[in-house]
Structure formats: structure tokens, C-alpha cells
Symmetry: C2
Subunit: 266 residues, 2 copies
DNA sequence: GCAGTAGGTTTCACTAAGCGAAACGCTGTC
DNA sequence: GACAGCGTTTCGCTTAGTGAAACCTACTGC
């Protein structure tokens, strides 16, 4: 708790951060302005970062830019871990904090396939394991992913699942009802399933994005409404779920700022 | 020159680097072993990195992993700059160091299109500008890119350029001669053009890779052999060209280690 | 041609930031 | 119940880091 932190390191990282926001390069005075550090100090840090290849110096323009080593930092982890490996420890953490099951699933065809399942000790059990598949439009995870598909992809899925008359009725003519639900999900940023699949079983799900901004999976928290009210689920557990989903997205290379641009573009 | 560097920053970055090589997480004793730092010191650095969100701590397992902020560092620059913007300052630097023209080009269909051109003041001029196009199989840049295409893509290009009888003769039946040349280029890692396009004009080119390991462009140094011998070009300028190509590749997210894997796989 | 400005680089004396050996406490193991 | 291994904290020492100031270039404008 009361650990003396290494301020020099924090300062140096702040400088790196400033450069990532200014990829076209910065000169010394700009760095001093942006960080508030005295000239000599900023200079020393810049020299250090250059000597370690985290920055590159261009003598002609007198500017510094991010160096090659910065890239190798993040990419090492990103490329070598798939989303399940990456998310696993974060889901475990979430599960321990809220004392609920947590799952990560992705869309495969018209079904949701579970890639990670974190179980808490409990009398009541749900018979789902990693690899289990369920209909996409019946689960919170499924809807959280569907909500961010492109219109053509969504159409394909709606066409296929509409072949089943029962489903066709549920999602409306040409999926009209489903599309309305998905619009709500996009607006609020999460999906809710209140007993649709199994009575008494509710669930909230949040999308996980990748570097391109595409939703590649979703994580959810299912609860028995007898044990945990929908109100508790949404008010207490959902914020943590969203936070973890955000962290995992960032680790996959997703940049927050894009979201605004995309929304502005719509 | 004789600047006092900030050692704490260097140490901290080294720790981050160790984590990027071990994305599944490390515990304190492992970090002390890998970095050689005393326990208390490593502990303080880890705490600092966690508090700045460059690492994430998982209490359950007692492990640390790269945190979300590490990703945002590199991706900010990567996503916002296209390859021309990214490479420009490095090519300028190279040009100033070797006092020669430097170009960056990429493949568009069966032609090379120039995206960046750095010119040195000189009496002799070459009439190429950004956006100029020349036949791929006639230029060092073109061959440097062709050499790393997949077999089907290469076949398509050979089919198309073989329509011109003059070219067909030059590259051999079904591009046999060209394929032999490309094999040599892959082996040595660079392409040479000695007067093929214009007599008296020689050029060396090196490929630039992206995060997926694909060659997305190439950079070259053209010279008049009257002014700069092929020997000088290859022995003096080529090493610098290769170094810059490597740096640009890394900035695009290319990881050196992959190269070995790929070579091993062949 | 010279004063003036702005950036890059170096100096230097001060001091607190960082160091790391050692001690402490917790947990699990044999 | 002794031991081992890890995480965490303490504490006095000292060196690494600090930042004001001076110094050196360029440029720029007059």
C-alpha cells in the first residue's frame, strides 16, 4: 500500500504516452509544455528513451518520434495470445469479485460458442461447458455480438434462423423485432436476457472489440433471479462487467477514441 | 553526448519488455531472476507500473501481466499513420546519410506505384514523382515485393504481364526466370536492378513488412553507376537501407522473431 | 552586421529519490 | 513444528536525479 513509487519511471512513461498521442513527432519545447517538466529534465528523459530505442530522433527536423521498441512491447502479447487466453484471468478476477459465473463467447455461424467459462461453487448449476453452443438470438452474448455486425452479415443470419418458424415468429418479419432489440443494445452498450432462454435465468452481456473496432466476442454474467435480482445484476454487477470488457478490448488493441468517431459517423 | 541517463526509466522499461516476452504473466521472483534486480527494487517498479496501468495485477495467482495502457502506446501511432507518413522521416534520414535518392513504393496490380520520393540536389535527375507507375518486374522495388507474394498471387501477376510478348520472353516460360530471381531475393533479403530498366541506372531495394509479416512495400536507392559503382551501392548503402527497412517494419508491428519461424517452416 | 530570441546541450551543487539488505509476516509443506 | 518461499515493509546510506543557470549554437529581423 504505502510503497514508495518510482517517480522517474512514471515521468518517462508519461512522456512516451504524450508521443503516442502525437505520432508525427515532437520537439523538446513541446514536450516540456505537454508534460510540465523542466527543460533539462525532459531532455535527459528523451535521451534515455532514444538510447533505449523507445524513441527515435530525427536530426534534420529536431523531432522525436516513437521508436520501434514501443511496437514490440504490445505486439508480443497481442499476437501470441488468443482472446480466450487473454481474457481468462480477467474473467476469473471478475468472477471472484462478484461471486457469479462469468462466460466469454463468440459467434460461429448462427450460434454462440463458449470459449471461457468461470464457475463459482454453487448448488445450482448450469450445464454449459467450453465448446457448448446455443442459438445466438436467445442469449445475451449472442445479441451483444449481433448488435454490432454489419447489415449484410446480420441479414444473412436473420435469413438463416428465420427458417425455423418458431424463431421467425419470435424475431418478427425479416427480424424486425430483433433489429429493434439490437438498436437498444447498441445505444446502451450492453445486452440483457431476462428469462428468454430459461425461465428464472437472467444475464447481462457486454461486447469485446479488437484493434479494428469490430466486436469479436462478448462476456456475460448469468444469474438465477431467485438468488440475484435483475436489479442487482444491472446496478451492481453490470458496471464491473463493462469495465472488464473495456479492459479486454484495450488489450486487444481497441482504442476508446474510435468509438466517438464511429458514433459521429453514423 | 555525455548526458546522464535516467537509469530508473531504463530499468522500468526493461521490466515491461520482459513482460512482453512473457504474456501469460510473471510473479515477483521470476521478474527478479529475469532482470537481475533485487527483490525490493523489482517490487517497487512493479507497483509503479501497476499504478500507471502499464501492468495489471491478478491477486488470485499473484501474477502480473501487461496492462491496457501498453497497447494504447503503440496503436495510437500505428493506426493513425499510413506507411508513407510513417516512413517519410526515416527515408529522409537515410537519404541525408548516404547522399542518394530514396524511394518507397508498393505494388498496385502489376505495377509499382511510388508513395514517397526523397531527392538529393543533383544535376542528373530522374523523372519520377510520387504517384508514378512502372512495371513491377522491371524495378528493384517491384521484385522486392513480388518475391514475398503467395504463389497464387504471383501466378496471377505473371499471367497478366506475360500478355506482353517482350515481357514474356524476358521472364521466361510461365515466369520461370523471374521465379529464379525472386528465390535469390528471398534468400539474400534484398533485390538488385543493374541497368535493367535504364542502362547506367542501378538500384537496390529492401522489403517492408507489416504486423502480419506480409511485405506491403519496399524501399530502394537508385544510383547512376557512373557516379556510384554497384560495389559501393551494395557494400556501403545497402546495409543502411536494410537497417531502415527493418526499423520501418518494426514500426508497422512486424516482429523479428517471426522471420525465423517462417524460414524454419519453409 | 549585430542585437535578440529560441532551441539544444552542459554544468554543478543540492537533496531527496531510490536503493537494497534485512526483518517481518503469511501460507503452505514435509 | 521447523522450514522454505513469497510478498511486503522498514530504514539508514548514498548516489542518481534534479533543475536553475550558463553556454552554444542557429535563425530572424532590423
Amino acid at each position: 500500500m504505502a510503497v514508495r513509487l518510482v517517480e522517474s519511471l512514471a515521468k518517462g512513461l508519461e512522456i512516451l504516452h504524450v508521443f503516442s498521442a502525437n505520432p508525427t513527432g515532437l520537439r523538446l519545447p513541446e514536450v516540456t509544455k505537454l508534460t510540465g517538466l523542466p527543460k533539462a529534465t525532459a531532455y535527459r528523459f528523451l535521451q534515455t528513451l532514444v538510447s533505449e530505442n523507445y524513441l527515435h530522433f530525427f536530426p534534420a527536423a529536431g523531432t522525436f518520434r516513437l521508436g520501434p521498441k514501443v511496437m514490440s512491447l504490445g505486439f508480443g502479447a497481442l499476437l501470441s495470445l488468443d482472446i480466450a487466453e487473454l481474457a481468462q484471468p480477467y474473467l476469473e478476477e471478475l468472477s471472484r469479485r462478484i461471486h457469479q459465473n462469468v462466460n466469454l463467447g463468440t459467434l460461429d455461424g448462427v450460434e454462440v460458442v463458449y470459449l471461457v467459462r468461470i464457475k463459482v461453487r454453487s448448488i445450482l448449476g448450469i450445464n454449459l461447458t467450453v465448446g457448448s453452443r446455443i442459438s445466438a438470438c436467445n442469449s445475451a452474448i449472442g445479441k451483444a455480438v449481433l448488435a454490432y455486425l454489419g447489415p449484410e452479415q446480420l441479414q444473412l443470419i436473420i435469413d438463416e434462423i428465420s427458417l425455423d418458424p418458431a424463431v421467425a415468429e419470435k424475431i418478427g418479419r425479416n427480424g424486425k423485432l430483433l433489429r429493434q432489440q439490437l438498436a437498444v443494445i447498441r445505444k446502451q452498450g450492453y445486452a440483457v436476457n431476462d428469462g428468454e432462454t430459461v425461465p428464472g435465468l437472467a444475464s447481462v452481456a457486454a461486447p469485446v472489440r479488437n484493434a479494428k473496432g469490430l466486436v469479436e466476442a462478448a462476456i456475460n454474467v448469468p444469474v438465477f433471479t431467485e438468488l440475484c435480482s435483475l436489479k442487482t445484476l444491472v446496478e451492481v454487477h453490470l458496471p464491473l462487467l463493462l469495465e472488464i470488457a473495456r479492459t479486454i478490448s484495450q488489450l486487444r488493441g481497441y482504442q476508446e477514441s474510435e468509438e466517438r468517431e464511429r458514433q459521429a459517423g453514423l
